[in-house]
């Protein structure tokens, strides 16, 4: 699973990537092509590197950082050129320029990193020999042509050209043949360094990504998580960066929540507008951020590694494909059940299943879903408005209306009984009083009928 496959997940991963200040298009492509990590060793190593970058970004002078960022902006995707070099097809002037440009750039960046002991975090192979091949006059400038010093005969021809401009076209033809020989020779010499050249290019992308992730972690107040080994995940003061920004723009504050889940189903109930969907979005986002090595939006976190992450939410795209919202949802949840039968570590986050159908059948579907998934070795977090018998599931409830305002924190409760606050919330929204009053009367009549 590559980052580009999940970037449009409705959990808000796209926002995090858009907020990442990458300097080169190549680094962005490299990041999007990166595979989701599922090994503890790999994830731990990536956070070790990121910690180095945070120390680095936090300690260096702004002018120094700007120099580094400016250098990284110059990184070009020259993988086609590297491929040609690997196949020993003679590089043309533009390709030779690209190789020289990369060699000089990576040497400069390597020096900047070494000055701050960051060369342990990302190793950039030295390309001095490559520079020497492409810079016979030792100018140390990232420009290139087939220099006079490569060949005496070429040098003589060019002197002739300047003396006799009228013969230039003829002399250029002669020179072209010699130049092609030089290019072929240079390609042969560079071929010995093709691995180092490729590694240097990738290392520059890694530095770019490392600095960008570190700056994002510092800027958004993200944390680096512990890796949990018992399948359970815990977050303290977890927040959704995108929702937080949207709220702050409206002069409001995001209330962070504490939450944990394990390999026992977790059921979240609570009033409308209680932030249940945002909790699921954030949990999904955090899981992806963790397995792609980003900072985590919470003050503290301990996260279990998963092989599959499945987030089921009212899916607009399926509706566009012509499926009804109910059909789309059923198919998504069906995929979760199928995945739960595999021997893989699965995290499923399901937002209000069967919400679009009648409450009688809806309740039955959700109750049965819980029974199907509960025995599986998987992590399930599900929100619902239906009254469900939780069985072995853990129940969390949004604290809800508390002294006139919404309290979004989650409390553990004994059963899954859903709160009946819809009318109060509707009233607080200033909805037409005739409607709300009538609804209250309806409720009272129906409860009287029941008691009779």
């Amino acid at each position: 699973m590559q980052l580009k496959n999940v970037i449009e997940s409705p959990c808000g991963l796209r926002f995090m990537l858009d907020e990442l200040e990458l300097q080169s298009g190549f680094a962005r492509r490299w990041l999007l092509d990166s595979e989701m990590m599922t090994s503890e060793q790999e994830i731990a190593a990536s956070y070790d590197v990121l910690r180095h970058f945070v120390d680095f970004v936090g300690s260096i002078e702004p002018s120094y950082l700007n120099t580094l960022l400016f250098r990284l902006q110059g990184v070009k995707d020259i993988r086609t050129t590297i491929k040609n070099l690997r196949q020993q097809s003679t590089l043309d002037d533009i390709e030779l320029f690209e190789v020289k440009h990369l060699a000089i750039l990576s040497t400069e960046v390597a020096k900047l990193l070494k000055d701050h002991n960051l060369d342990n975090a990302v190793a950039i192979p030295p390309l001095d020999k490559v520079i020497n091949i492409l810079d016979p006059d030792g100018m140390k400038i990232a420009s290139f042509y087939i220099y006079d010093s490569y060949c005496q005969q070429l040098k003589d021809l060019r002197i002739e050209m300047r003396k006799h401009p009228e013969q230039q076209d003829q002399l250029l033809v002669e020179a072209a043949e010699i130049e092609e020989g030089v290019r072929s020779d240079l390609t042969r010499q560079l071929h010995a360094h093709v691995e180092d050249i490729e590694h240097a290019l990738i290392a520059l992308a890694r530095v770019d990504i490392g600095v960008a992730k570190a700056r994002q972690a510092i800027g958004q107040g993200l944390c680096f998580p512990a890796i949990s080994n018992d399948g359970s995940s815990h977050y303290r003061a977890m927040f959704h960066p995108q929702v937080r920004v949207a709220l702050e723009r409206g002069g409001k504050k995001f209330q962070p929540v504490d939450i944990g889940f394990a390999n026992v189903p977790t059921l979240i109930t609570g009033a409308n507008m209680g932030g249940k969907t945002v909790v699921l979005k954030t949990l999904t986002l955090c899981q992806y951020l963790f397995q792609f090595g980003f900072g985590i939006p919470s003050s503290e976190a301990s996260i279990a590694i998963k092989d599959d992450i499945m987030f089921c939410i009212g899916d607009e795209q399926s509706i566009e494909k012509g499926l009804s919202s109910f059909a789309a949802e059923m198919k998504n949840i069906d995929a979760v059940i199928k995945a739960s039968r595999k021997e893989r570590r699965l995290l499923a986050l399901i937002d209000e299943p069967a919400r679009t159908t009648n409450p009688t059948e809806g309740t039955a579907l959700v109750q049965a879903l819980l029974k199907v998934l509960a025995p599986k070795r998987m992590s399930l977090v599900m929100t619902t408005h239906y009254d469900i018998e939780p069985g072995a599931a853990r129940c969390l409830r949004v604290r809800g209306f508390d002294g006139g305002s919404m309290n979004y924190s989650l409390v553990e409760v004994e059963d899954g009984e859903v709160p009946h606050e819809a009318l109060n919330i509707a009233q607080s929204l200033g909805i037409d009083p005739e409607w709300i009053t009538l609804a209250r009367e309806e409720l009272e009549t129906s409860s009287c009928e029941k008691t009779e």
Binding site: D92, D93, I94, F97, S143, Y145, R158, Q168, D169
Partner: protein, 334 residues
Amino acid sequence: MPFINEILKYDSLSIVGLQKNTGKTECLKYVLARLPLEQKKVAVTSIGIDGETTDQVTRTQKPEIVLREGMYFGTSEAHYRQRRLVSELIDVSDESTSLGRVVTARALTQGKILLSGPSSTQGLRRWMRDTRRHGIDLAIVDGALSRLSLASPAVSQSMILATGAAYSINMSQLVQRTAFVVDLINIGVTSERNIGLLDPLEGGLWWIDTDGELHEMEAVTSLSQQVQFHGMERCATIYVAGALVDSFLEKVRKNKALKQVELVVRDFTRVFVTQQQLKMFEKAGGRLRVLHKSHLVAVTVNPTSPAGYVLDSSALCDRLSQAINLPVYDLLKN
């Protein structure tokens, strides 16, 4: 040497032809041959129709430009490979054209090169910015003035306009039509505040109310018949990000609520209105303004039409110069 010293005051110049065969290339050659390279580092590129190597109208080969030793140039990868001079690459941009990426190099000998630079306005701006980073003092753009060209030469500080018998063989008409284009080039620049608000907008129709608040209009283009001005009583400025045409100008003029409106376009190349409509619009109290303006340094004429008809060069220069209040040169004659 007319106007060379004037050019040196600016850091960028575009040479724009009103029509094929109005002597734009002659003008470029004239300028390139006379610039004092010992004083200024000069770079040159072209924004013709993307990928054009032969003249679209006359099917003649697009001329190669002769560069002097020490000049910088921007061209496509394909044309760089066909260069007939020794040159040193200094930059390969991410800017892609149908002939490959745009590269920048320095001529180490004199020689010939086909120029085919950035094909979008954004790309041209980036190229000009990059040349400054390489220490270039003057960037010259060989600019086509055509609806077909996506890149606008108006991003340069200064401009030379090439006109001639190819545009019209009727001298009065030629003078009148050229003078109108000169009027368009000289359209005033809108306020700094408006530039800040409007420059980032890529397309569409927008308006600014009297409090300086920006709103989007419902119609997508000014060509649309469904342009409505509902709720725009407090409109101070209308911005047309695309082409400005007669029908739109007329609708604005006839709307009573928009009597004193300032109409803003990106630059003069976006104005496709007739002289008559523009006059009526201005008479009714409206103003036309641009976001970007180039300073017109000179106008050159080619009195010979492609069919061989020749106008009287000195009469043409005199009459045009009087009409536009600027020096006019016939470079072939001088």
